[in-house]
Each structure stands twice: as structure tokens, then as C-alpha cells.
């Protein structure tokens, strides 16, 4: 089965081919290059495939879960899953040289696993240790790795080579999965991934529906959202140094305008 999926995507890649840049229009060409999506036709095929699978499987399951499980229960499930990711977050905090954040993550894991009963209750959060997330993609970015081109992964969705590699690193290096393998609980990583998928999807039901309802190019909207969200996560939500906004990037000087626009990417 997996090999058949690979064949389908290889075929899609061959048939969809690459995006055609608007060569005769320098300004439009600059915009095209900023979109940094050279395999856009292929990405759109995968995106459509993901949307199809989502409507057929993931969204109905997430909707069912959202409807059947009381909000209180959903929070508990989310807490357990988040607590299980704490070791990965801690490793990445350390790899990014974020000593204080690493301390917070370690403290949270120790408190929530014990007092919080395997993470069911976010006791540490109530004690003032606010949660945060990290992953290997963000660590690679902090180390200076460029994101590379936009890449839509089957099932996993919006990504790029850097973040895709990050996902792979996490799957291999996650201490909790190590522990599961050593205990011979083979189905643990896959069950956990599925549970995480349902948790994430159910928390985004309304927002994604709303974006899709009012957008005219859902693919392009998601591409931009993903990039902005990642940039914010990599900065740990700290304000970026330069923040041009609509009010300041509408100067009549095209050079200045181009510069402002470039800063936004």
C-alpha cells in the first residue's frame, strides 16, 4: 500500500511538473520568486489530495470527537499529548541555547508527570510555568538553515525541506518513542501520531473552515499562513526587528516599495 502511494505521488510530480515563471514581467517575476514555490503544480495536487482525505476521513473524525468529547475531556487529552512532547521540546530548547525556556520545559515535565498525573492536569501552568512548543525545524532555522522551497507533504500538509527534515528527526529521536520501542509497545508511536492528528484537527475546525469559506485561493492562503506562523514560532513570538505594514509600504518610490515587500517575506 505505501509503495502504491509513492508511485501515485511520483506520477503526480511528473505530470504536474514545475511552475512557469512570468519571464516577460520583471515585477511579477519578483513576486513569483518571493512565493518560493517552484513545484507549485505538484504541491497543488498533493494539497488537493490532502483536502480530499481530510474531508473524507480526518475532518469527520475530528468533528465527531469534538462533538462527543466534552471540552474538559479534550483539554485533558491535549495536556497528556503535550506533556509527552516535553522531552522533544526540552532537547530543542537546549539545542537553541534557550536555557531559561529549557528550565521551564523541564520543570513542567517533572511537575505535570507527577503531580499532574501523567500530564492530565497542567499543574505547572497554574503555578506560572507557561507552556511553549519547539521542534527540530525551528532549531535548524535558529542554526541558520534556510527553509528552502515550499513543500506540501502528503497527510502532514504545509512544509519545506527544513521542516520536513525536522519531522523526520523528531520521529527518530523522540525519547518517548525510544522508551516505547524498548518496552516493545510497537503500536505506540502510530497511535500517538493519530491521537495528535485528531487533537490538532479538532482544535482547528472552526478556524480552517472560516479561512476556506472566505478565501479565493485556499492553497495560496495556507501557504502564506504557514510561513508567517513558522516565522513567528522560530522567533518565539518575539517582535521582529523591522515591521513594515500597509501604512508604511505604499510609498510611491518603487525601489523602497520593493524593499519593504522583500522584508515581509
Amino acid at each position: 500500500m505505501p509503495s502504491r502511494v509513492v508511485v501515485i505521488f511520483a506520477a503526480a510530480f511528473l505530470f504536474a511538473g514545475c511552475a512557469t515563471p512570468p519571464k516577460d514581467d520583471p515585477e511579477a517575476l519578483a513576486e513569483f520568486e518571493k512565493a518560493n514555490d517552484p513545484i507549485e503544480p505538484f504541491n497543488r495536487v498533493v494539497f488537493d489530495f490532502n483536502m480530499f482525505v481530510d474531508k473524507l476521513i480526518f475532518k469527520p473524525i475530528a468533528t465527531m470527537y469534538d462533538g462527543a468529547m466534552p471540552e474538559y475531556g479534550q483539554e485533558r487529552v491535549h495536556n497528556v499529548l503535550a506533556n509527552m512532547r516535553a522531552p522533544v521540546v526540552f532537547i530543542n530548547d537546549v539545542l537553541q541555547g534557550e536555557g531559561q525556556r529549557a528550565g521551564v520545559t523541564a520543570g513542567r515535565f517533572a511537575i505535570n508527570t507527577t503531580v499532574g498525573v501523567l500530564g492530565i492536569f497542567d499543574v505547572a501552568g497554574e503555578w506560572g510555568l507557561e507552556p511553549h512548543s519547539e521542534d527540530f525545524g525551528q532549531t535548524f532555522a535558529v542554526w541558520g538553515a534556510p527553509e528552502g522551497f515550499y513543500l506540501v507533504l502528503p497527510i502532514f500538509g504545509p512544509s519545506n525541506p527544513r521542516d520536513g527534515l525536522g519531522l523526520l528527526a523528531e520521529a527518530i529521536l523522540d525519547p518517548v518513542n525510544y522508551w516505547a520501542r524498548s518496552e516493545d509497545i510497537d503500536e505506540f508511536p502510530i497511535s500517538r501520531t493519530l491521537a495528535t492528528g485528531v487533537d490538532i484537527r479538532s482544535r482547528n475546525l472552526d478556524t480552517l473552515d472560516e479561512i476556506e469559506r472566505t478565501s479565493i485561493d485556499f492553497y495560496a492562503a495556507i501557504r502564506s499562513l504557514y510561513r508567517q506562523r513558522r516565522a513567528d514560532e522560530i522567533r518565539n513570538s518575539r517582535p521582529s526587528a523591522i515591521q513594515p505594514a500597509p501604512g508604511f509600504s505604499t510609498t510611491p518610490n518603487p525601489a523602497q516599495q520593493a524593499e519593504s515587500a522583500a522584508l515581509l517575506d
Partner: protein, 209 residues
């Protein structure tokens, strides 16, 4: 005795109108922070009630958008390099359609909210004028949502020119999305307008009874 005229006028106004009228008056906010604080509170107060119709929610969002946002500057930014390639008529139509889409979009997002509160955390001035105001929506369940508004002051009134939620800017996302549509229509703004026209009419139909 010399009394400044403005003070006299203010005193007279106070006597005539009375302090009981104070909550009704919409005094201009003293700084960008209080402008955003008022805006956030008003949005939650007016847009989250469950007992209003979708049409009423969109109508309220339209009013809020017109009052508190510089939609023209945002439109110009959204069209980006294509702004200079559009006719006055196309710009006017884009502005009208864009207001409709944005109003529906935010009305839809606020509809799902219950029991949220909004607070401003801090504000900073930016080079070139204006300020960035950082705030957050506190929810009953789940972590707070970070909101960031860029605000400029034009002839005494504050207007928002950018809004970011969890680091995602609405105008920037629209700029990217719409330029993709223009590009897929061979660089034609008319193509974007035709797609937007259809979207706006679907959205408007969805709230008309």
C-alpha cells in the same frame, strides 16, 4: 479674570450636557494603546453575542472596519505591485469587494467566540510614525491568543493598518493569496475582480433571508 476659551467652552459643555452623558460620547482615545483596547473590547462586545443574526454581525463588522481601519491603505498594500496597474474604477470595486470579504471573514471568526476578554499588553512607537500595540484575547479554555495591531494617526484619529493574530498578518496573507490569483489569471487584475465578485455574492447570499 482670564479664563482660556477652550476651558470655558468645556465647562459650558459640561453644564449643558452633564456628566451623565459621558459614557455615550465617543471621545477620541488618548493614545494608540487605548484606541486598540477600546477596539478590541468593542469587537468582543458587539460581535460575539449569540442572539444576533449573521446579517447583523456582518453589518456591525462593516461599521467597525470603516471606523477603525484604514481600508484604503490596506487595499493598496494587498494589491501590491498591481495597484499601479489598476484603473480608478477597478480600485473602487476592489475596495468595495474587499470590505465585504473581510467583514464576513471576521464576523465568522467572532461568531465562534464566547466569554473572551481583550487586554492590551504594551505599545511601541515605530520609525516612520505610528505604533504597534500588542494585546491578547484571553479565552475561557485554552491559551490566550496574541493580537498585534499597527496603528497610525491621521488628522487626529487613529486607524489600524495591520492586524496580526498569532503572528499571522491579515493584509499580508491577502496580498499573497490575491497576487497568486492574479498570477494564475495571467497577471490580470480583472481576473481577480471577477473571482472576488463571485465570492462576495456567495457570502452576501449566505446571510440574506
Amino acid at each position: 479674570m482670564f479664563i482660556p476659551r477652550s476651558l470655558l467652552a468645556a465647562g459650558l459643555a459640561l453644564v449643558l450636557v452633564g456628566p451623565w452623558a459621558a459614557p455615550e460620547t465617543r471621545a477620541a482615545p488618548a493614545d494608540a494603546g487605548s484606541f486598540v483596547s477600546n477596539l478590541g473590547k468593542r469587537a468582543i462586545r458587539e460581535l460575539t453575542p449569540k442572539d444576533i443574526s449573521d446579517a447583523e454581525r456582518v453589518k456591525r463588522m462593516r461599521a467597525l472596519l470603516a471606523e477603525a481601519f484604514d481600508v484604503k491603505a490596506i487595499s493598496k498594500f494587498v494589491l501590491g505591485i498591481y495597484w499601479r496597474r489598476t484603473t480608478e474604477d477597478q480600485r473602487a470595486e476592489f475596495l468595495k469587494l474587499y470590505k465585504t470579504v473581510v467583514s464576513h471573514s471576521y464576523a465568522g471568526l467572532f461568531k465562534k467566540y464566547t466569554g473572551e476578554t481583550f487586554e492590551v499588553i504594551r505599545q511601541v512607537s515605530v520609525a516612520g510614525g505610528g505604533s504597534i500595540v500588542y494585546g491578547r484575547i484571553k479565552r475561557m479554555n485554552g491559551p490566550p491568543v496574541a493580537v498585534e495591531l499597527q496603528v497610525v494617526k491621521n488628522s487626529g484619529t487613529y486607524k489600524a493598518v495591520d492586524i496580526k493574530i498569532e503572528g499571522v498578518s491579515m493584509p499580508l496573507t491577502h496580498r499573497k493569496e490575491y497576487s497568486s490569483v492574479i498570477r494564475r489569471n495571467r497577471g490580470n487584475v480583472a481576473g481577480l475582480l471577477s473571482v472576488l465578485r463571485k465570492k462576495a455574492s456567495i457570502l452576501e447570499d449566505s446571510i440574506s433571508e
